[in-house]
């Protein structure tokens, strides 16, 4: 269990407001309005509830709207960017150009996602001067860049080196080089087709000679180059002529589009067009389907088997969606993360604003809900033996999961503690369905449904006085939190449990007793 039991979730108002706002949508859906009613009362077990229930520490409070603000009724705005692994701040200007990733030596293992370090392969017996060759090593699953045939000469500027290194060590031409190459070969093809008037269809095979099928990126580059050229062909070359505003403007494009529709053809005539055509060669981004690649993949599957293929997670993490085998993996530069401020979505007031310095953990502004709404906490009121049972019983009552330690029919008492952060007393009224919904019908009785909680006055002397008596049962409490909540605080239960009476009251807190009778579980 990630969340030690017992815990408290708060439902944000945005749920209701959403439902309230719904009718328009419903109208468009044609759902009978009757549904709105039962949709209004909040069911914690409905899948939708997962999106409106939050732990207290995630809730903010908008003082202008006088409302809780959960993570989704805020608008977040980025303050600055930094790399989570080297903790360097990245200026906003380069963030985009770097593809939102760190350009230092921060890399993650493509297999298990843990950070990879740069280490050397050099023979310990005769250390070479350069200290190389270097490689990326995952300290967790021991993956190394050697497995994709990549070594580095220097231990610095990995990103730069990686950009030029393809898997298996072949060098990747830079963008410029690729551009040049494309131009050159396009020219070539033109000549070819000019000479042979029989219009020999220059099929992809003529270009297959160079390393295999072009990569995803290459195709994309070719395509966009092709389209650009086609669009440019329509336009006067002078980039500053008013025409050029329309350079790639859709009007011209769509004109090209419906070239064949008679309406525009005359206009075309006037500016003697070369109609925007389809890509005709791989250099223009056209790739014909070739069965050979398919069969190649299948054969590889057959031979290499499961272990050489990639799990869905590994695929998703990769930059290029087309990867299939472990040999296609690329080390992943760590994705930058951001410091963000939060604003109220409705009134735009700032709810939280961290200090922009990366190292600082302080906030300039932080309006927490915990300072405006009562804090609830629940714990079993029992001997340590049955405490765990009772705790889980309640869990079964509150949450969809069921524990085996649940003892049907055995009543357990819980202590509901409500503390008041406000400076005025509050009056609390509790209510619960006598039988919890869901598979396990647990009977919950609130012994004292109505009571007051005192104002939050003068914290300090209370702190001093509180110091002594709070010491009791601390060790148990500690172990509780350690083990994840089972057997929480077992001391106390001084008075007898009586209906209608609050259990205990402090300066700004009150605790009452709930009786929980776990029902028969389908399984247990």
């Amino acid at each position: 269990m990630a969340q030690p039991f017992p815990y408290t979730y708060y439902s944000c108002d945005c749920y209701d407001s959403k439902v309230a706002a719904a009718p328009t949508k419903h109208a468009s859906q044609g759902i009978p309005p009757a549904e709105d009613e039962d949709e209004r009362d909040f069911d914690p077990r409905s899948p939708g509830a997962n999106y409106s229930l939050y732990p207290l520490e995630h809730l903010l409070y908008c003082e202008d709207c006088q409302q809780i603000r959960c993570p989704r009724c805020v608008v977040e705005e980025t303050l600055n960017w930094y790399c989570p692994s080297c903790l360097f701040e990245v200026p906003s200007s380069v963030v985009k150009t770097d593809g939102n990733r760190c350009t230092r030596n921060c890399y993650n293992c493509p297999v298990c996602s843990s950070p990879a370090v740069v280490t050397t392969l050099e023979d310990p017996f005769d250390p070479s001067s350069s200290g190389g060759p270097w490689l990326l090593l995952c300290t967790y699953c021991k993956w190394t860049s050697l497995e994709i045939g990549i070594e580095f000469e220097k231990h610095t500027g990995i990103t730069a080196q990686l950009a030029r290194l393809g898997n298996g060590g072949r060098t990747i031409p830079s963008h410029k080089e690729r551009e040049k190459e494309r131009e050159r070969r396009l020219e070539l093809d033109k000549h070819k087709s000019r000479d042979i008037l029989s219009g020999s269809e220059d099929s992809p095979t003529t270009d297959k000679r160079d390393d295999g099928p072009p990569s995803h990126d290459d195709i994309y580059a070719n395509l966009s180059a092709f389209y650009k050229s086609q669009l440019a062909a329509q336009q006067p070359s002078n980039p500053f002529s008013p025409h050029d505003i329309n350079f790639s403007s859709p009007s011209s494009f769509s004109r090209i589009m419906n070239l064949y529709s008679s309406s525009t053809s005359k206009k075309q005539k006037r500016e003697k067009p070369t109609p925007m055509r389809e890509a005709a060669s791989p250099l223009e981004g056209l790739t014909l389907h070739s069965p050979s690649t398919d069969t190649a993949i299948i054969d590889r599957l057959k031979t290499s088997g499961w272990s050489r293929t990639l799990s869905p997670a590994q695929k998703l993490a990769q930059m290029t969606p087309t990867v299939r085998f472990t040999s296609d993996l690329r080390p992943l530069a760590s994705i930058l993360c951001t410091k963000r401020g939060k604003r109220c979505r409705s009134c735009r007031h700032i709810l939280s604003k961290p200090e922009s310095k990366i190292t600082s953990t302080r906030y300039k502004i932080k309006l927490l809900a915990r300072n405006h709404i009562p804090r609830l906490s629940l714990r079993a009121l029992h001997t340590s033996t049955s405490a765990s049972a009772s705790a889980t019983a309640a869990a079964a009552a509150i949450l969809p999961f069921n524990y085996d330690s649940l003892r049907p029919g055995l009543p357990i008492h819980f202590l509901l503690h409500i503390s008041n952060p406000l400076f005025d007393p509050v009056r609390v009224t509790l209510a619960t369905p006598s039988l919890t919904p869901g598979r396990v019908h647990t009977r919950v009785t609130i012994l004292c449904p109505q009571f007051d909680v005192g104002a939050n006055t003068d914290v300090w002397d209370d702190a001093l006085s509180g110091s002594t008596d709070t010491a009791a049962g601390g060790l148990k409490r500690f172990s509780a939190s350690g083990e994840g909540g089972a057997g929480r605080g077992t001391e106390g239960s001084g008075g007898a449990v009586e209906a209608g009476k609050i259990w205990e009251r402090g300066r700004n807190w009150t605790s009452v007793v709930l009786e929980v009778v776990p029902g028969k579980d389908g399984k247990a």
């Binding site: 990630a2 809730l59 906030y363």
Partner: protein, 214 residues
């Protein structure tokens, strides 16, 4: 700064309390006490193992600043290390020699039961759940929550304010703005355990917790 070695005669009990309020379980296993500093009000529980004996051999800058002697483990104030956890400074080979590096643990750090910790540094207000393994030279910043059974790979840096979990661990979320607020003196303390609410929260001020340890 005081060392567990300098103990004042305490009443027989689970814990020996040092003059600066550190509580060290009699059943804890501490080797190389000379190289360990406890910031005060820090709790070392039973079966905790501190490997102070694995200390830097060549003169390294002492992390605690004041100490002339080499320090291998320095733990801040109000930090709780619970049952069965092992704290061992990380070592690596540098310039052909094995070298142990001093480990630093900040204030108000909670280390759950049965953890194995070799981090190079753990900043303040970090909450480490039970059965967590932290490999050498991991660096954990402030206000981090580590989920149970997480395995933090070596050299990993965990930025502040993140929740990490999994094997290998990755950042799986952010602790909310309100994390670690409350407990301690800021409200709710009046209740303490008696009122049904504990007087401390994860990542918050652990004084209450330390006080309650007996």
């Amino acid at each position: 700064m005081s060392r567990p070695s300098a103990r004042k005669a305490a009443p027989k009990g689970e814990y020996i309390e040092t003059d600066s309020g550190n509580k060290v379980s009699r059943r804890s296993a501490i080797t190389g006490t000379a190289n360990i500093t406890l910031g005060g009000r820090t709790v070392i529980m039973a079966d905790v193992h501190l490997r102070g004996d694995l200390h830097p051999t060549r003169a390294a800058p002492s992390t605690s600043g004041k100490e002339p002697i080499t320090t291998s483990i320095s733990i801040g104030r109000c930090t709780v290390i619970s049952t069965g956890s092992v704290i061992r400074p990380p070592s690596r080979i540098s310039r052909g020699e094995v070298h142990y590096y001093p480990m630093k643990i900040g204030d108000n750090v909670f280390i759950g039961p049965h953890c194995t910790i070799s981090a190079i540094s753990i900043s303040s207000h970090v909450h480490i759940s039970h059965h967590v393994t932290i490999h050498p030279f991991a660096m954990i910043k402030e206000n981090v929550k580590i989920l149970p059974h997480a395995v933090i790979p070596a050299n990993m840096v965990i930025p502040s304010g993140s929740v990490v979990g999994g094997q290998p661990a990755r950042v799986v979320g952010e602790v909310g703005e309100g994390w670690g607020v409350g407990g301690g003196v800021s409200g709710g303390i009046g209740g303490g355990e008696k009122g049904g609410e504990k007087g401390w929260v994860e990542g918050g001020d652990l004084r209450e917790l330390v006080r309650s340890v007996k």
